[in-house]
């Protein structure tokens, strides 16, 4: 099949690229744009390690075709820190030992950003349920939940 051209904004920068219609957004970000921070763990929507933010909402990038991201605004893990300054969630993840191998971490972070930024009054049980969207095989989740809870507190300003 022929490739189609798409233009989208990724982490604030306009990007133009070509993709065969069947190419997933995950593959496009990784292979065409070299943004390999977005990982692939199952390609059927369950593990969540491919999660990116599309027009302000977390989505599974393995279940979107790149062509569907035309004219959309995508945010990936590479766009989370502000240059050398880590995003508060990144700092909290490190402090709370929320990562071991780090493979799930990009998906965890992007999911948490959506959960908390779009719902600052989120409660700890809601965080636990919400973070169940992404699987981690290493940590047992304790540090991840603590980090996201701490971030929610920061956002709320308490």
């Amino acid at each position: 099949m022929d490739e189609q051209s798409i233009s989208l904004t990724v982490n604030g920068t306009e990007q133009n690229g070509e993709a065969e219609p069947r190419m997933s957004l995950a593959d496009f970000l990784r292979e065409r744009l070299g943004l390999t921070g977005t990982h692939i763990g199952c390609e059927h929507g369950v593990c969540g390690v491919c999660t990116v933010i599309c027009d302000g909402m977390a989505v599974r990038s393995c279940l979107m075709f790149a062509v569907q991201a035309d004219k959309k605004e995508i945010r990936t893990i590479e766009g989370l820190a502000d240059g050398d300054t880590m995003h508060p969630l990144q700092t909290l993840f490190s402090e709370q030992r929320a990562l071991q191998c780090g493979f799930c971490t990009p998906g965890m972070l992007m999911t948490a950003v959506d959960l908390v930024d779009n719902n600052p009054s989120i409660t700890p049980p809601e965080i636990k349920a919400g973070m169940s969207a992404v699987l981690c095989r290493c940590t047992g989740y304790e540090g991840i939940l603590k980090a996201v809870e701490a971030y929610a507190k920061q956002i709320k300003g308490v």
Partner: protein
């Protein structure tokens, strides 16, 4: 511990790995992109057992973007199978444990027959993965299905078809061992109890599947392989052997690895195939396993049936344990008899039991090969043993905790000689620890045994079913044969360390920097650690079996000792002081008690350089660099006691874990936060195995759980409150006092859950002797009426 006054060791130093991983700047195998790279897709058998009559690749070969397609026949001459003896047993072992081991070789791509669903039978190399998968669909095959050997029972049947005709049997190994009177002792035991236990099949299931990239440089005849593996040296050795190249010319790197847990702990056919393809095509080649392939093709684990008989006296003291167990090894046995060997060595656990006899068969079936996964034989045997201990308690109407205390080895019995042989060939001696104290502390954390029992009784009166589950184990850690490390100090004064360890999330770059910084008394920032790259250290073993902290630290220490000797000799010459008066301080060597008399490592390293300007005393050769191999005398023994309180819902059978405690002892903890994370992560894997993770085959050997919709990993919502308490008894076997860690957490949860549920359901005399614990089966124990057991008016006491 002369050289290791506490500095960084013992502190939860932040991980140096974090920054790149948090920013999406890690490098995993799938992230590697090389110019001109080709992509592999692998055709995998849908039959559990079938003869290959014909494979026609012609259409695939002419498909768009395809460079090459091969089947088993095409490589028959070029590539030998992976030897059945990937892991050799040490000399002492064969003599002390009766063994009869005949491990089948594993062809990289079989040409005669396929032996499990998921086994490769052909592959395609194409411009990209999409096209490669398109071409796979064009391969036409003629397979002649053979009767599947779907279970170990079927495999052991006299008339069973053979998986490997050459072996003449469906058994890869038979092991037997005996202590004291063994089974004989049953005859004199006042009580006997016999049961069958089953630990089901589940798998390591790292979030990153496996993957290999290889690049061949014709100019220098060298191969570089990036593999998501726990054993880089092993990969480069097998590849070098297969391709007839010197090991030196085959460099294997494990970049960031997204979890392994044993599933990436041996050489797989793809490691060799991709390297071969890169050399053959003279282009970089990449194969990334997808999740479906991973579940089919990467090794599974557990899947053991135990027949256990226990002899015990009126006080619940266990006199003998007799165990006969079968490991479903699947179609091959990549780690040979390792799992069964572990099980045999760990069965007696923390208990002082005079007699023991164990026999095991490692049986070949048409399932995915079985290899060690976190715990490796210990969760299986632990399930059988710790269930049996509870059943002994039930027989005598004693508290299961009490029976454990009565049988446990006491602290003053340490070191305790078990009377068995470990798989390194050395007689087992538990080196240190206080087992009863660990159990006591676990119970205390839950409020104390008395109060738990009272709460349980009160709850029952209200129609609520609360149970206490216990699980205790010991774990041989830091197993040999060896680990390598190279330590260098260059003219910048920085210390550079490379080890054969291959971390997959354990934070080794941080841990080894801590160890090295303390050995040299330097700021941790001055230590540079590389891991998992064969170019940096010639011989290494890898990260598996809870061994790296012990073994790699040992190697770093040995290498450091060698360089230190030199550094002191040089410093002694320059400072004109006797070596005995020197000490390590301030990133250099100084004269004790004389602040001004000091020379930096930078200057020592410069002085040590070869050439005219050197300042080495006579007899000291050039350079500050050493490579050492640490060969541990034997394993150190970590141990733990687990306790959990569950509540069972009589309507739905759901098991709610109210609280889970593990008191764990891994000796001195180099980095407590990392250690804590290792135990907790392991516990959650154990809970997953206890309640939801399961690889299922149907009666014809078809795998039914081929996706993440069917294979259920625990998510954040499934995790109960967990407390881990570290009881740090130093190991006397190494100067750091460390024991290994990593697997432990995963060992006990399945049996703790089963014991807790049975405890909660005492009114029904419930016995759950297999895993996973299924809600449906638990619910059925309450009878058909889902509302009966909840009704609060049925218990007579309530009416008073």
């Amino acid at each position: 511990m002369p050289d290791t006054i506490p500095g960084y060791i013992g502190q939860s130093v932040p991980r140096r790995e974090d920054k790149r991983l948090l920013r999406g700047e890690g490098l995993f195998v799938a992230d590697i992109q090389l110019p001109n790279m080709l992509h592999v897709a692998i055709a995998r058998s849908q039959f559990p057992h079938a003869r290959i009559k014909d494979i026609d690749l012609s259409k695939a070969l002419s498909a768009e973007g395809v460079e090459l397609a091969i089947s088993g026949e095409d490589i028959l001459e070029q590539l030998p199978p992976i030897s059945g003896m990937q892991l050799a047993t040490p000399p002492g072992y064969q003599e002390r444990v009766d063994t009869d081991i005949q491990i089948p070789d594993q062809p990289l791509i079989p040409h005669e027959k396929v032996r499990f669903v998921g086994e490769p039978y052909a592959l395609v190399v194409a411009r990209n993965r999409y096209l490669a998968e398109d071409a796979l669909e064009l391969i036409s095959t003629d397979f002649d299905p053979l009767p599947p050997v779907a279970t170990t029972d079927k495999a052991l049947d006299e008339n069973a078809p053979l998986l490997h005709e050459k072996l003449g049997r469906n058994v890869a190994a038979i092991l037997h061992t005996k202590k004291g009177q063994g089974a004989e002792a049953l005859k004199t035991a006042p009580h006997r109890l016999k049961r069958r236990f089953y630990h089901h099949r589940y798998a390591a299931m790292p979030m990153e599947c496996r993957g290999v990239v290889a690049d061949y440089d014709a100019r220098t005849d060298t191969l570089t392989i990036w593999s998501s593996t726990q054993v880089v040296h092993w990969v480069s050795r097998e590849v070098a052997n297969s391709l007839g190249m010197p090991e030196e010319n085959v460099r294997c790197i494990a970049p960031d690895v997204g979890g392994g847990f044993g599933g990436k702990g041996h050489v797989y056919p793809e490691d060799i195939l991709v390297a071969y393809l890169a050399r053959r095509l003279q282009r970089p080649v990449k194969w990334i396993e997808d999740r479906h392939e991973h579940i089919l093709n990467s090794t599974h684990s557990r899947d053991n049936i135990y027949d256990v008989e226990i002899g015990f006296d009126n006080d619940g003291r266990i006199e003998t344990v007799v165990s006969d167990f079968v490991v479903d090894s699947g179609a091959y046995s990549p780690i040979g008899a390792g799992i069964a060997g572990n099980s045999i060595a760990h069965m007696l656990g923390p208990y002082d039991i005079p007699n023991y006899e164990a026999s095991s068969k490692i049986v070949l079936t048409n399932r995915t090969p079985n290899a060690p996964y976190r715990g490796a034989g210990r969760p299986e045997v632990g399930f059988a043993m710790e269930r049996a201990v509870d059943l002994v308690a039930n027989e005598l109407e004693l508290d299961p905790a009490e029976v454990r205390f009565r049988n446990m080895i006491k602290a003053d019995q340490m070191p305790y000689s078990v009377g068995l042989t470990y798989r390194d060939g050395v007689p087992i001696v538990y080196d240190s620890g206080d087992y009863p104290k660990a159990l006591e502390r676990a119970l205390e954390e839950l409020g104390g045994l008395k109060s738990i029992r009272k709460r349980q009784k009160d709850a029952l009166r209200q129609g609520r079913y609360i149970g206490l589950g216990l699980g205790c184990y010991v774990e041989g850690t830091g197993v040999g044969p060896f680990e390598g490390a190279t330590v260098k100090i260059d003219a910048t004064g920085k210390i550079v360390v490379a080890t054969g360890a291959c971390p997959q999330g354990q934070g080794h770059e941080t841990v080894f920097a801590q160890v090295t910084a303390d050995l040299w008394k330097v700021p941790i920032e001055d230590v540079y650690v590389t891991v998992a790259d064969t170019a940096h250290v010639t011989m290494g073993y890898g990260t598996l079996a809870s061994r790296s902290t012990v073994t790699a630290s040992g190697a770093i220490q040995l290498a450091s000792d060698q360089i230190k000797e030199k550094a002191f000799a040089i410093a002694s010459g320059i400072l004109e002081a006797g070596e005995k008066d020197l000490e390590l301080r301030d990133s250099g060597v100084g004269v004790k008690g004389v602040p001004g008399m000091h020379i930096s490592f930078r200057d020592i390293a410069t002085a040590a350089r070869p050439g005219w300007g050197h300042k080495r005393p006579e007899g000291i050769d050039a350079g500050l660099e050493a490579t050492s191999y640490y060969e541990p005398p034997t394993v150190t023994w970590a141990y733990a006691s687990n306790a959990a309180i569950v509540e069972v819902n009589p309507g739905t059978g759901q098991v709610l874990i109210e609280n889970y405690v593990e008191v764990h002892d891994a000796g001195v903890l180099v980095n407590p936060a990392i250690a804590d994370g290792q135990v907790k992560g392991g516990l959650v894997q154990g809970l997953g195995g206890g309640l939801m993770e399961e690889i299922t085959y149907d009666e014809n050997g078809q795998l039914l759980t081929g996706s993440f919709m069917d294979y259920l990993l625990p998510s954040a919502s499934d995790v109960p409150p967990i407390t881990v308490i570290h009881q740090e008894t130093p190991s006397p076997l190494n100067s750091l006092g460390v024991k290994g860690l990593g697997e432990g957490g995963a060992i006990a949860p399945p049996v703790v859950i089963a014991n807790a549920v049975c405890d909660a359901l005492r009114p029904f005399k419930a016995e759950i002797n297999s895993t996973p614990v299924r809600w449906g089966e638990v619910a059925a124990i309450f009878g058909d009426d889902p509302f009966k057991a909840t009704s609060t008016t049925t218990t007579p006491e309530m009416e008073k």
